[in-house]
């Protein structure tokens, strides 16, 4: 381990130490939630949760389980801090983030506690870069109160099929309307743009549909501008679970497989744009 040259003593001052052989396993998943600068980090024994929010209507969470890291030591029950995500990503890809097989950047991420900077040791090909990023007062993430017990409709799709639809969506439409229903059209994405309207219908027996659990017809509208960042997560993922609860809140969960075949999750919550009467 190139980065294990740090002395044990030095390690003891840190409340959080996490090392990764391949920094891409962290940077890629963080890219999936990069739409605002401020990211709230919360580390527990289970791993790292990174939260980014927009307009109090959208929240994105990336979960990186402890076992993704080669080393994950946490001395407190919970460690929280906030950093500028763009700066962090710039640091994580400081060696250029090459995708050449066999060339990886190793990372050791350390945090000494409240008021201290987040320290990154990055190593590639024997060159070590140390980055210190000032941390900010952690904000409390919004609780969207999205309970699995309140979920009305849920579908799991292979990301490929949804990616195609999202890449073609009419961006002149201000909203994306999602209809989920136990009967036709089952799962429908609609846009209402300058040139007219468009609908993408997925039948429930499609090969792309892994799970279809819809109990009630629901039509909700979401701001396109809010949902747009989620396409970054969609691009990385292999499966996506789309859920809506009784209030019309949307949960998008993306299953992301990293370079080493391990699984991480990215989750987006979005509040509905307005009430729509069922037609």
């Amino acid at each position: 381990m190139p980065l294990s040259t740090q002395s044990q003593q030095e390690d003891q001052q840190y409340v959080l130490v996490a090392t990764l052989d391949n920094v891409r396993n962290l940077s890629n998943i963080l890219k999936a939630i990069t739409f605002k600068d401020h990211a709230i980090f919360n580390a527990t024994q289970n791993g790292l949760k990174v939260t980014v929010e927009d307009s109090k209507c959208l929240q994105a969470n990336a979960f990186i389980q402890a076992d993704i890291f080669q080393e994950f030591v946490i001395k407190e029950d919970s460690v929280g801090f906030q950093v500028n995500l763009t700066v962090l990503l710039d640091c994580l890809t400081i060696f250029g983030g090459s995708t050449v097989p066999g060339v990886t950047t190793a990372l050791r991420m350390c945090y000494s506690g409240y008021g201290f900077p987040l320290t990154l040791f990055l190593e590639e090909g024997g060159v070590v870069t140390v980055c210190k990023i000032n941390t900010q007062e952690p904000e409390e993430p919004i609780d969207f109160d999205f309970c699995s017990t309140n979920v009305t409709n849920k579908v799991i799709l292979q990301s490929d099929s949804l990616r195609e639809a999202f890449s073609e969506l009419d961006m002149t439409s201000e909203i994306l309307q999602i209809t989920m229903s136990p009967s036709e059209p089952f799962f429908r994405l609609s846009t209402f743009g300058n040139s007219g309207n468009a609908h993408y219908d997925y039948p429930k027996d499609s090969d792309m549909m892994e799970l279809f659990q819809c109990t009630k017809t629901q039509t909700n509208r979401y701001k396109m501008s809010l949902l747009k960042p989620s396409t970054k997560a969609l691009a990385l993922s292999c499966k996506v679970s789309v859920r809506t609860d009784s209030r019309g809140f949307l949960s998008l969960q993306y299953l992301v497989r990293n370079d080493d075949g391990q699984i991480c999750f990215v989750e987006y919550y979005c509040s509905p744009d307005e009430e729509v009467n069922d037609e």
């Binding site: 009419d170 007219g196 468009a198 219908d201």
Partner: protein, 387 residues
């Protein structure tokens, strides 16, 4: 009205719309008993393109007999239906185009793999038929070549090149880039290449001539021809008369009609001495020959004449409009007005640009003074904050 295209024909339809989108902003959609016509014309009306799809192109070609349907819509919105050509090829199994008389929208439905159904309801406007008057058969020169030959030829020219000059003799064809300005000619890289008649499927030249036209539209048609593998026929006459590029097989026909630079412009370019007094040749050009080239369209004549008053040297904002003419027929009044408006819009910018320029020059002292005081204010407040 109900059409269904399947398999490879969906891609052909998509490619046709993509190549039309390279020419005009609006797609004219016209149902005829003997097929479906998709047409467009560019904003300066120097290029017209049409695709005609016969009923056999479609798996289903259903219509109420005697009922004509005609509309126009932004080509971009139709393009969005066939957005990704690569995935289209792999995923789309069937495309259905539908219109019901009670609806003001045209419905495109794509049936894709895995049961995915994409429905686009596109708004449209009523319109008159868009037609260009041209006579392919009357052209003394006809060339036909495989798309590959022309694609490879056009590849030699830089993508930024707007116009190309094609010259033909009994057994050869030359292509070279057309350079507008004599001064540019020294700066520009000149590319010239020669194709022997043997390279063509058909080469009949009875008039040795040299024509100059826009490359953009040719490129648009080449994209289509290359994907379908259909040979391209080129029909042309004297400079100033339109060139017709044509692709056809048993179920479809595409015609791209492009204006060519008239002889006068050529002479202007070739004659160095005339460069000394540029406005005069432009006027001469307007009075003399232009009328003879304007055949059909009264509307274009009126508007064309007005557009020609624009002094030629200042054509920095586009292709040399006055030289290009396509002969369009029976375009409705609304379009004429549109066109007049366009012309009006197109003309003032030049003046506007100048007046803006002068405007910014004349009040300079006060403006500069204002600006400096303003920026000083800001600086001052900043330093206060820091202090």
């Amino acid at each position: 009205m109900d059409y269904v295209a399947t398999g490879g024909n969906v891609k052909v339809l998509a490619k046709a719309i993509h190549s039309l989108s390279r020419i005009g902003d609006e797609l004219y959609f016209e149902h005829q008993d003997d097929g479906l016509a998709l047409r467009t014309v560019n904003s300066s009306r120097s290029a017209f393109a049409s695709f005609f799809l016969s009923p056999l192109f479609f798996q289903r070609f259903h219509t109420c007999p005697g009922h004509t349907f005609r509309c126009k819509m932004p080509v971009k919105s139709v393009q969005s239906v066939f957005k990704s050509l690569s995935s289209l090829e792999k995923t789309v199994e069937k495309c259905r185009i539908e219109w019901k008389p009670e609806r003001s929208q045209l419905t495109f439905t794509l049936h894709c793999k895995h049961g995915l159904l994409k429905t686009h309801n596109l708004s449209f406007q009523d319109c008159e038929s868009l037609q260009a008057v041209f006579d392919k058969e009357g052209c003394p020169n006809v060339l036909r070549a495989q798309p590959r030959l022309l694609v490879d030829t056009v590849l030699n020219f830089p993508p930024s090149l707007e116009e190309v000059t094609v010259s033909v003799s009994g057994d050869r064809m030359w292509l070279k880039n057309h350079v507008e300005d004599k001064t540019d000619q020294f700066k520009a890289m000149m590319t010239e290449l020669c194709l022997s008649s043997e390279e063509f499927d058909h080469f009949s030249v009875s008039l040795q001539t040299s024509i100059t036209f826009c490359l953009k539209e040719l490129r648009g048609l080449l994209v289509f021809a290359e994907s379908t593998g259909l040979p391209i026929s080129v029909f042309f006459d004297d400079p100033g008369r339109p060139v017709v590029l044509s692709v056809s097989d048993s179920v479809l026909e595409a015609n791209f009609v492009l204006a060519t630079l008239s002889e006068d412009a050529h002479q202007n370019n070739n004659n160095n001495s005339k460069r000394a007094s540029p406005p005069t040749p432009a006027d001469d050009f307007m009075c003399d020959d232009m009328d003879s080239y304007l055949i059909a369209m009264e509307t274009s004549e009126i508007a064309g004449a007005s557009s020609q008053k624009e002094p030629q040297p200042s054509s920095s904002h586009g292709p040399p409009m006055p030289n290009h003419r396509v002969f369009l027929d029976s375009v409705m009044e609304e379009q004429q007005q549109e066109r007049d408006e366009e012309e009006d819009l197109e003309r003032p910018p030049n003046k506007k640009f100048r007046s803006l320029f002068f405007g910014s020059v004349s009040p300079t002292p006060s403006q500069v003074a204002n600006q400096t005081t303003h920026s000083q204010d800001v600086l001052a407040s900043d330093s206060e904050d820091e202090g």
